[in-house]
Symmetry: C2
Subunit: 226 residues, 2 copies
């Protein structure tokens, strides 16, 4: 493999709180400094969520704007990726920050189960988010929680709803979705290669699977998220 491995840092997800881990950065200034340290350690992409003052997740465009501005100042050249994930908002509120024109944004193209609920990505919302990303020239990171999401992303690229080359993240280890399984991970790579030969991919293992999936990514020629 000749391409360098891109390390994406997800400083703050939408779930963990200070009471779970005092080190998790919650405020925008905490997130900027934490990302700054990761940037100096070699991370190239910052995958960003934002929080309300009470630590609950939000899609508030103003908070995303403040975070994006701080990252551009402290981490020049770092790729800023904003989350349109469904834990932080519902419906089109999930894409309210896209007019900020970040370099990248996450995009789920299918639905699946999460630990206690359905992760809902209805087809019309997926199409609207994809359209907003085309309009604002944002590169999507496809979040594949299941095999059909990979095939669906390729279909959306074929019919022009997504720009090529695709960048797809394989997410494993979420309860009630896909567990971290190496044979399935390999099949994800094979399937993406078959349906979208010019695509790049990365992997994310949730919770205790993180290091295992990182190792698969590095060994098999993908990028990875920490």
């Amino acid at each position: 493999m000749s391409d360098p491995c891109i390390i994406c840092v997800a400083i703050t997800g939408s779930v963990a709180r200070k009471e779970n881990n005092p080190a998790v950065p919650i405020t925008v200034s905490e997130q900027i400094e934490s990302t700054h340290a990761a940037f100096e350690a070699g991370a190239a992409i910052a995958h960003c969520h934002v929080r309300n003052d009470d630590e609950t997740p939000t899609s508030d465009p103003d908070r995303f704007a403040a975070l994006k501005e701080g990252l551009e100042k402290h981490c020049p050249g770092m790729i800023v990726q904003l989350s349109t994930g469904g834990r932080s908002g519902a419906g089109k509120a999930r894409g309210g920050m896209l007019p900020l024109r970040p370099d990248m944004a996450s995009l789920s193209v299918g639905s699946n189960n999460f630990p206690t609920r359905v992760y809902e990505n209805p087809p019309d919302l997926v199409d609207w988010l994809a359209e907003e990303m085309r309009t604002h020239d944002i590169k999507p990171e496809i979040e594949a929680f299941d095999l059909s999401h990979i095939v669906q992303a390729a279909k959306m690229a074929d019919d022009g709803r997504l720009k090529t080359p695709l960048y797809v993240q394989f997410v494993m280890g979420v309860k009630n979705a896909m567990p971290a399984d190496e044979r399935i991970f390999d099949f994800y790579i094979e399937t993406l290669d078959r349906f979208a030969p010019d695509a790049q991919w990365c992997g994310a293992g949730i919770g205790p699977n993180q290091l295992t999936v990182n190792e698969w990514c590095i060994a098999k020629g993908g990028h990875t998220r920490t």
Copy 2:
């Protein structure tokens, strides 16, 4: 392969109406006579939906009871499988017919996209339907619309939520879910065999994929639905 191929007949789904196809059986008596003909032609399982008088789908236990009674009389020995699918009702109404104790009932264990909406199978509803099937000694047919559903069914068998051996149906060709793809079909078989070695499987191709998937099922040692 030494096991006989079981043919499952789905006389009436939840979508097609008389205006789409005048031959589709809608009333309970039409369904009974149509299934009777399929039974005499060799079908062993009847996968059943019921409709309201206006042809809209319903989970009404009384209509299911009338259909089940008629099938038992006209098709002695045929396996009656009632649908708990989400097009016909919402929440626990989907399982309201399970106290009728049919031989089998369909069970989705994950969520996915359908052509225009999310097919919602939240974890607590899945667990409740599975528990009702254990209580009433009903064998589930797992409806796998994506790869993780196969793994999830095996996990539910391992922890006692589903009885073994599993019976899993691979559903392909639904828009915005998994298309009919032979390499993925083969991987479904491989994955089921790895996670639930004693399971049996069948396949269903929706719409124009029906005959293709039937052929894969017969060639690869599974059962099939028409």
